[in-house]
Amino acid sequence: MTDAAMSTTAVKAGGPVNAVLNRLVIIVPYLWLLFFFLVPFLIVFKISLSQTAIAMPPYTPSFDLSEGIGGLLSGLKELSFDNYVWLTQDPLYFNAYVSSVVIAAVSTLLTLLVGYPIAYGMARAPTTIRPTLLMLVILPFWTSFLIRVYAWIGILKPEGLLNQVLLATGIISEPLIILNTYTAIFIGIVYSYLPFMVLPLYSALEKMDYSLIEAAEDLGCPPIMAFWKITFPLSIPGVVAGCLLVFIPAVGEFVIPDLLGGSQTLMIGKTLWNEFFANRDWPVSSAVAVILLLILIVPIVFFQQAQAKAQEQGR
């Protein structure tokens, strides 16, 4: 794969040593990502086509490269789509995929609704305190994801802090059951992913020229209309980036549904985890991962293009 690094405009008139160094900058991370990011996906795909076996590793290899072309051909004959057929036959998997996508979509929308006023408020704050506000939004992101999700267990439990407060103030007379329901998953996702939504929204809103709003209002446009006609359309790149940053990882989320959703809730990340760790069925969990990746490939490519575009503009 060394020819991947056929460089480029920037190789200046240096010695051959410098030319080699220039190429190393590309080659080393390139090879690393090929080996540790791309190749593993091919292996997942391969294993998803093999049979489950009681052995270690618990699958029958579908290719034996040491046998050369002959091994490859006999391997092709042994490829089986049984795992995929199995996934379509058991409604559990189908339901888990659908509910993951729905939960992720609803929570993305909720995160947008919660995050937009925050980002908007920050973008309109006095310039002197904006860096501090930004820092305050980023800081929770630095504390452990697991810890932040764990903190919500103590709050949402039937005898937890939220119910204690609500009962003490007389708002409710019976404790609310929130933990181990889909509501808890929504709260968990909105809470954990909020900074991912606020930051791109903030950077889009901060760049906006507010004299546009003033002009609209001078011309008699009501503030709500001015928001819909000017502010919101200008913040679309931030909305798109934020929604993708929340939606894609949320579909495959494991920690939140496992800790807050309990055993009754269904999400594909948890299904994959259980297939792998509880059932030790590597081929089926690989097939689950392949389908999940297929579902996410469109939003991921979309995300990459948005990133590349932002990079071009920053240039």
Partner: protein, 272 residues
């Protein structure tokens, strides 16, 4: 433009920050709870911190986590900085599309997929799972975050500085270390810190990539959380939060100082 910060905006920012911080603050408060019941306040006590340090399993896991974090963050910073340089400096090379795809995809890829695929790789090539495999997995994940952080700094970097250095006879390598590196250093430092905290945090990928003898702290915390919420876990979490908060504060003071120093230098240069 003379705009006031309207009441609506103040309220939404205040409520947003309260939402972000309240759970963490409550967690810290209840780590000092005398009572074993996490949600009933039984008076102030630091006994859970004492019992935490007696818990050999937790201490071992913490040590593994710190070593994995330090090693993986350092390697990831080097690789991520290289990737950022490759992406910003070399606009055309064969396979660049694939390369940028591989840098951005891990940022949003669900952990279960990354974890499973890395595990299957390690099994396929016959690596014994343990400390090394967790470290390799974390390098792969976090180098992409470092690359994005460093890249955003490189995009605003004034390349005429480098050209000036090279016109004055500096080799590209010397130019990089004496001109480019000092300018992008704050981004590299925050990239390292991000990589370290991501490694410290990760449960899912570590669970797949790890083997016997290399249980990380999140794995340990997770297995205890499943058995129920205990004040001891609150105490462990509080210490982790404390370490991260201290790190972030130190880094921001460090960046602020550099900034002040830079402004002073510029002023001195203008006067002189």
């Amino acid at each position: 433009m003379n705009q006031t910060w309207s009441r609506f905006n103040v309220t939404s920012v205040f409520l947003g920050l309260a939402f972000l911080y309240l759970p963490i603050v409550l967690l810290v408060i209840y780590s000092f709870n005398e009572s074993k019941l996490v949600t009933v306040w039984g008076g102030f006590s630091t006994k859970w911190y004492g019992s935490l340090f007696q818990n050999q399993g937790l201490m071992d896991a913490a040590w593994v986590t710190i070593r994995v974090g330090l090693l993986s963050a350092t390697v990831a910073t080097v690789l991520g900085t290289m990737a950022a340089l490759a992406l910003t400096r070399y606009t055309r090379f064969r396979g660049r599309m694939l390369f940028s795809g591989m840098v951005f995809a891990p940022l949003v890829m669900p952990d279960v997929i990354t974890g499973l695929s890395l595990l299957l790789l390690f099994v396929a090539v016959g690596f014994d799972r343990g400390f090394v495999t967790v470290t390799l997995a974390h390098i792969t994940l976090t180098m992409c975050f470092v690359a994005v952080v460093v890249q955003s700094r490189l995009l605003t970097f004034d390349r005429s500085l480098e050209e000036a250095a090279m016109d004055l006879g500096a080799t590209p390598v010397k130019t990089f270390f004496q001109v480019t590196l000092p300018v992008i250093l704050p981004a590299i430092v925050s990239g390292w810190m991000l990589a370290f905290t991501l490694s410290l945090d990760d449960l899912v990928i570590a669970s797949f990539a790890s083997g016997p003898g290399a249980t990380t702290l999140p794995m340990k915390i997770y297995s205890q959380v499943r058995l129920g919420v205990t004040p001891e876990i609150n105490a462990a979490c509080t210490i982790l939060i404390g370490i991260v908060a201290a790190g972030v504060i130190v880094a921001s003071v460090f960046n602020k100082r550099r900034e002040v120093q830079r402004l002073r230098d510029e002023q001195a240069a203008q006067r002189g």
